[in-house]
Symmetry: none
């Protein structure tokens, strides 16, 4: 008996998902006449590739419950503000820096509003708006399709723009940090863009508050040798610290 190829099942699942926006484990198990466990393994695999998002009972396209920007701003505002100030202290007059979108990086932008000579590139609308109102700061917005949840541009256009630039420092966020010390993100696209941002800077710093430590988001951000430090509000667990030591970048406490 020859078994139907699993790859076909995966492709059909993706097809259905894109047609209808969501799939349920039970329905797929019936449709392909396999056990629910098999379907779960399929979906898990697709989720690890960042192609679907798992939800109870099935999977959907897009991000089911990533908290909105305004929500994330409110969460642990003090810790994020401290991280922002710490990051700002690394920025010297006259530098050209890149700031990623996110609630933590928005605090960095706010901490930079007292500066006199800076050039800042960002993909975040609120950060651009904040900094363009600061005299003495030259602001460059990275164009592209705007993602509502981040209020920032993501996509081919943004990635393309990034290629044209080289900056002194890049400040990049992350969706979460895995136990192994890998930075993770909600979508494949975001992960790729953050990786590109890390490599755009001569040095790059990752900003993450302690709420990220426990959070494992589906896609890994590929490592970069430009990383010069991880800026946090609390010291992370031993595992993450060990991973940091191994990667030879310091953990900087705000």
């Amino acid at each position: 008996m020859t078994r139907p190829l699993a790859i076909n099942r995966l492709n059909q699942i993706l097809q259905t998902l894109h047609d209808t926006g969501s799939v349920s484990v039970g329905a797929l198990a019936d449709q392909f006449d396999v056990s629910k466990e098999t379907i779960r393994r399929d979906l898990k695999q697709l989720a690890e590739q960042g192609r679907v998002s798992l939800v109870h009972g099935g999977a959907t396209v897009g991000i089911p419950a990533e908290p909105s920007l305004s929500r994330r701003e409110a969460e642990n505002a003090t810790g994020k503000a401290a991280i922002g100030r710490k990051a700002a202290s690394l920025v010297k007059d006259g530098m050209v820096i890149l700031i990623d979108s996110g609630s933590t990086t928005l605090f960095l932008a706010e901490a930079l509003t007292t500066r006199e000579h800076l050039t800042v590139m960002t993909n975040s609308l609120p950060i651009a708006l904040t900094l363009c109102r600061t005299p003495g700061v030259k602001t460059i917005m990275l164009g592209g399709e705007i993602h509502a949840n981040d209020e920032a541009s993501f996509g081919v256009d943004t990635l393309e723009s990034l290629k044209h630039f080289n900056v002194d420092l890049a400040f990049v966020g992350a969706g979460g940090i895995s136990d192994e010390g890998e930075f993770t993100d909600y979508t494949r696209l975001a992960a790729e863009q953050r990786h590109a941002m890390l490599n755009t800077g001569r040095k790059a710093y990752v900003l993450a508050d302690h709420t990220k430590f426990e959070r494992k988001t589906p896609v890994n951000i590929a490592p970069s040798d430009r990383i010069a430090g991880l800026i946090v509000d609390y010291l992370p667990s031993g595992q993450i610290s060990a991973a940091a030591a191994q990667s030879r970048w310091p953990i900087m406490l705000a």
Copy 2:
């Protein structure tokens, strides 16, 4: 027994909420054939994410979209709002449009927040921010250096991005209108960019309220044959009207 995915229920609740402005627990329970308690748990969850506001008996949209201070305090806000609504009436579902920066065009963006299927390109940060919060509107930000006065991108990068696109309608502002019916601008760069914007649209409309009629700013915007109309709040003087007639585009009163 397989259950319908809870995530779909949540999404539909959000959709209904966006369409009608509010939802009631009882109606949703009937609609999805689940208990009221389940609906309450759904709404509570959405409220925790900041996506809805709970009220006794149901929920309403999270952010009531009150016009920002700068918008209300804008000079001749009523006239500009009328122009914005008039311009919005020219936009059909599914169109791809380009919106220039400016206070008048911001009112156009505001008037488009009820739409379902639109793609909007803009160089204005506030317009991008307004529209990216509107579900169903795909927003593309034109990148480049941000000018503090306009809170919008201007420059070589922006001009370059414009070349890659073709849109159904372009809505462009102007610094002023000369007696001869020429559109004028404050800087050479802005004038050149507005000219490029006019030519990016299959059709282009110029938005100008009556405070622009008397104003003669230093640089002329080169004429374009894509111009399909000038949208105003009051009819301009005879000279401007005559020039419009000669250029064969209509003056549209909001």
